[in-house]
Symmetry: C2
């Protein structure tokens, strides 16, 4: 078991990573004095699989539990569902001290964190992420949000959890595609910040795909530490520090958006987006071909896509230019100078961006 501390003065919290550690939860919550009743936001699938264990872990410490299931899809990240859940919480909250547990993947985490941030101007919440993607990324750092038809994550808050508990045993029932979706972000951490992690992945990717607990614990802890360090320095993405987490996401998001988030998982979009960013870095002579080949090789080895069939070039370019981060500004990319070393570059000629996108077409 490993503990990563995310230091934010009065809002400091621990990220606990281990295998089969759900049993610790009650004790941790009591230490933090979060309340007497856990309002657990989850979906039916996760509830069926793990509610027994979770309830037991909480009841043993005298904590009451209330489960609230929401649909298992991005549709749950809406103001409508947030409102329904908040009204439900208000009803229970008459004679209890309620705190929220986000028990699920990124959708559950984003929704629950947002609800916790606005109910009574903020009540405590903890994250128990159940996907690799959520364990290495979305559960850490306090970015919460729901979607509008006008755009994803347009409504939200920066609101830190009081605890993140990443039990890699919960990843056992993930599909291969879900594991790969998280693994793309793990590769990203290696590329932007951690050469050693990158090498570890080259050597041990098969253990991760086999869901070997030791390997999972190692990468989740490593990624948690990197993300915690970045969030500590730039909690609200006001400096250019948190920006580097967007490596591969500029074109990655555009790829996801061009297919209305239906064809590619987040990880697949990011894998392709990273390859485009790597290609731009090479075209600008920031890196040489051996580095770009090494990255492409790892992405391919683990089983993530390196090419898109029937590339929707126009759609991707359009989505890219409508990205909310670039409106009215120069384009801005996180690029590479080496594995483990990034550089932010603005105003890249659109010809180069176009060529890099074309290259990930078949």
């Amino acid at each position: 078991m490993e503990i990563v501390k995310l230091n934010l003065k009065r809002r400091t919290y621990n990220i606990i990573i281990g295998s089969n550690i759900l049993g610790r939860l009650g004790k941790e919550i009591c230490k933090l004095k979060l309340g007497d009743t856990a309002y657990i936001i989850t979906n039916a699938l996760i509830k069926n699989k793990y509610a027994g264990k979770l309830t037991k872990a909480l009841k043993r410490s005298g904590i009451d539990v209330i489960y609230k299931t929401v649909p298992d899809s991005e549709q749950s990240k809406s103001i409508k569902i947030s409102t329904q859940v908040i009204i439900d919480i208000a009803r229970y909250d008459k004679k209890r001290r309620i705190f929220i547990i986000a028990f699920g993947g990124g959708v559950i985490g984003d929704l629950s964190g947002f609800i916790a941030s606005i109910y009574k101007r903020g009540i405590p919440y903890i994250q128990i992420p159940t996907t690799l993607l959520a364990q290495v990324d979305s559960s850490i750092g306090g970015k919460t949000a729901v979607d509008l038809i006008e755009g994803k994550n347009l409504v939200g808050a920066f609101y830190q959890p009081r605890l993140v508990l990443s039990d890699v045993r919960l990843l056992n029932t993930l599909s291969k595609r879900q594991v790969l979706s998280g693994l793309a972000e793990v590769i990203k951490y290696g590329i932007i910040k951690d050469r050693q992690l990158f090498t570890y992945l080259e050597r041990n990717y098969q253990d991760i795909l086999d869901l070997e607990p030791g390997a999972l614990e190692h990468i989740v802890a490593r990624c948690s530490l990197i993300k915690a360090n970045i969030v500590e320095q730039d909690e609200k993405e006001e400096k250019e520090i948190r920006t580097i987490l967007n490596f591969g996401h500029t074109i990655g998001h555009a790829i996801e958006a061009a297919s209305s988030y239906k064809k590619h998982t987040h990880g697949e979009g990011i894998a392709l987006g990273m390859l485009a960013a790597v290609d731009i870095s090479r075209r600008l002579n920031l890196i040489n071909q051996s580095i770009s080949q090494r990255i492409e090789k790892l992405i391919k080895l683990v089983g993530l896509p390196i090419r898109i069939r029937k590339l929707p070039l126009k759609g991707i370019i359009n989505a890219h230019y409508h990205d909310k981060k670039f409106i009215g500004k120069k384009n801005r990319f996180v690029l590479l100078e080496d594995i483990g070393k990034t550089k932010i570059v603005v105003n890249i000629p659109s010809k180069i961006i176009r060529e890099a996108i074309l290259r990930i077409g078949e």
Copy 2:
């Protein structure tokens, strides 16, 4: 003109108080680099009266304006209206850098601040309060919220504005009842923190009722300073410092709630609530009768109620025990030791509370 600075490190902002100072606005906004387009949330009444002046002040500095009117009632403090406004903002926000101006009283301020806090995880907003109550209280300190049927202000955030501009000239068109509603809070500041202000009110209340700009500027500046000092020390009401602002509000809110917020203005409820708190203080021998008489005299002199006809005793006591601040806890009152000096007391015998409420009945 006076400027009060509210120090909160990176979130420090100015409260500018003066008469006929709307013209300064454009320059102040440019200094703060808030954006190129002001999205002004207001109601039809205020828009009709003052939009011309405001638009001119902004256009002169090259700032575009968009007006959004919401109904002039507490009904506007809802998730539904928030969502409608946010979707509207998202539509305009494609090629602009939008910031929000809350142009109205407490309802507009609370709603606008909440919207600003959650749109894109927070965009800048400024407060231009148009009632005395909003100028001395709600526009300062970053408490934003909307209501649920289950309770007022149940959904919200702590989110500071970037500027508060209190132009006392905007108070010219207030009804006497609206002025009195704000004046109750002004009296509260005197009672809890500022003996000099209390004496000033005893001597000059008529100037205030006559809306004499010098007198208004004096009290708004004084109250702004007191509130700023308190918020600086306890932004999120986590210590017992910000609590003292609730003097008179415990029973005051219960009085408002008992009549479903229809019979009494906020100020009338607070005036009566303060008298009840003063009475409890006297019964506990924290103050002598000369102090309680002096306070009652001022409240009566300005024209605020000191008694309720047909006291809904049961309703008030019920509402008091369902106050969200007391659920599952001991009762807790801000009481007085002197004019300008408070003391927080817990666990007051319900008999004493009951007698104090009975006393404000006729």
